[in-house]
Amino acid sequence: MQGIDKRGDPIICRCNDVTESEIVEVIKKGFTDIEEIKRLLRIGMGPCQGRTCIPLVMRIIARETGVNVDEITPPTSRPPIIPIPIEVARKAAE
């Protein structure tokens, strides 16, 4: 099936290949803050900048820790919005 790896474990972060069970595992180790999970698993640090995975991760945290999803603040979004070639950035300065 598409989006499901061999173990039947859904891939949540497609940029960095992180599955649902990997996220659940770090939550069980006590890393429940989305900022901590981002830094441990590199979720939201890929080319999509978290557009695909962050809402899913927030729902997994809510489910595993019993907090309301509205209480979870998404991580700071970082520029640029889409990846840009160094050559383009460099020439923009001139």
């Binding site: 803050d33 901590e36 830094r39 640090m45 080319p47 970082r78 160094i86 050559e87 300065a93």
Partner: protein, 381 residues
């Protein structure tokens, strides 16, 4: 949380977590760490993760060499991955003045036992085939320098300290420090609650001056924004972290393939501002392609910023102070706190527990500013 602790540590970065761990490891488990955001949310989690021993001042060289020793065994010690990787540091010189400086530095570093050497542009190109050697006069290379993942290292210390019994208060901010009869008594939190403390460790990074001031101590530590960007992951291009003093930049390739880079802007004012700018994006990309033209084709993925906690001589302030008993600090690392964090923290824990340290911290004491001592560390980028 208990009513009081033997040691209260302010700051959940590399220093705060590592000091907590070394205290607990040596048997002092009555420790509370207070972090106002989340673990590694400040300068540690925003740093480039470089680990360099090639410094200008003896104190920095010794702290960095001691830290590399610790980093080498840290994964096993903490039972946590650190992504520690010794790909070396390659420092580039483009002027005769820099060459003279490099020669002196290598001499001092070698006298302290560091495996470092001055190399010619050809050898530099052998180590990093993609560097532009035009105008390059020479370089220094230390193969045991490298990098580690700042999040993993900090989380590793955090988890191990917790396992050993250290308490954590995360999401609470320190609003005041109670000092009576020249002694630390308690910490007041922003919600008004009070935690008694016999000893206090200021490990507040960019906010260290504010914390010191609460205890009635003025330290010359000022926050300054430094920006970083990282590219998309690409195939393996080079091993060492590269510093070019001509452009004032550093860059390295992460284990996942992304190229991480930054530079210090001398015009940057003191402030708590950690916003990213397009100015940095434009200048950084221009400077880095002067040193490694092939990077032109790579895409920039993300940029962010963090605070350097700058001191007048760009060297940290470590130890206690005469004015207030029970007050300790490890602050003002001027952009290299992560790489010297392990040894610094081990020594500070030793100082708190025994009143002395196995490696002298005298040159890094707060007193040096009053006495007008202190040699300026010039190798900061």
């Amino acid at each position: 949380m208990k009513k009081g602790y033997e040691v209260v540590i302010v700051g959940g970065g590399i220093i705060g977590n590592a000091v907590a761990y070394y205290l607990a490891k040596e048997g002092q488990k009555d420790v509370l760490v207070i972090e106002k955001n989340y673990i590694s949310s400040g300068s540690t989690g925003r740093c480039a993760g470089g680990i360099r021993q090639q410094w200008d001042s003896e104190a920095n060289i010794r702290l960095a060499m001691g830290s590399v020793k610790i980093f080498e065994g840290l994964e096993d010690e903490l039972g946590f991955p650190t992504e520690f990787y010794q790909g070396g540091y390659l420092l580039l010189a483009h002027t005769p003045e820099h060459m003279e400086w490099f020669k002196k530095r290598v001499e001092l570093q070698r006298s302290l036992g560091l495996d470092v050497r001055l190399i010619d542009p050809k050898e530099a190109k052998d180590i990093v085939p993609y560097i532009n050697t035009e105008g390059l006069l020479g370089a220094t290379f230390c193969p045991t320098d490298g990098h580690a993942n700042p999040f993993y290292v900090t989380f590793g210390y955090y988890k191990k300290a917790q396992e050993l019994g250290v308490h954590y208060l995360i999401g609470k901010e320190v609003a005041g420090i109670e000092v009576r009869e020249s002694r630390i008594r308690a910490v007041i939190l922003s919600d008004g609650s009070r935690v008694e403390a016999r000893n206090l460790v200021n490990a507040a990074g960019g906010h260290a001056r504010d914390i010191a001031r609460m205890a009635g101590i003025d330290i010359p530590v000022n926050p300054q924004r430094h920006e970083i960007l990282v590219t998309e992951p690409i195939g393996h291009l080079f091993d060492p972290l590269i510093i070019s003093f001509k452009q004032g930049i550093y860059f390295r390739q992460e284990l996942n393939g992304g190229v991480l880079m930054g530079y210090g802007d001398p015009e940057e004012p003191w402030s708590y501002n950690v916003r990213s700018t397009s100015r940095f994006l434009f200048n950084m990309t221009k400077k880095v392609t002067e040193v490694m033209p092939i990077l032109d084709q790579v895409r920039v993925l993300r940029q962010w910023a963090g605070l350097y906690a700058m001191t007048p001589d760009a060297q940290p302030i470590i130890g206690g102070v005469e004015e207030v008993e029970g007050y300790y600090q490890a602050v003002g690392f001027s952009g290299h706190g992560f790489m010297v964090g392990p040894k610094t923290s081990e020594l500070l824990a030793e100082l708190i527990l025994t009143g002395k340290t196995s490696l002298s911290l005298e040159h890094l004491s707060h007193k040096r500013f009053k006495e007008g001592k202190g040699k300026i560390e010039k190798a900061v980028i």
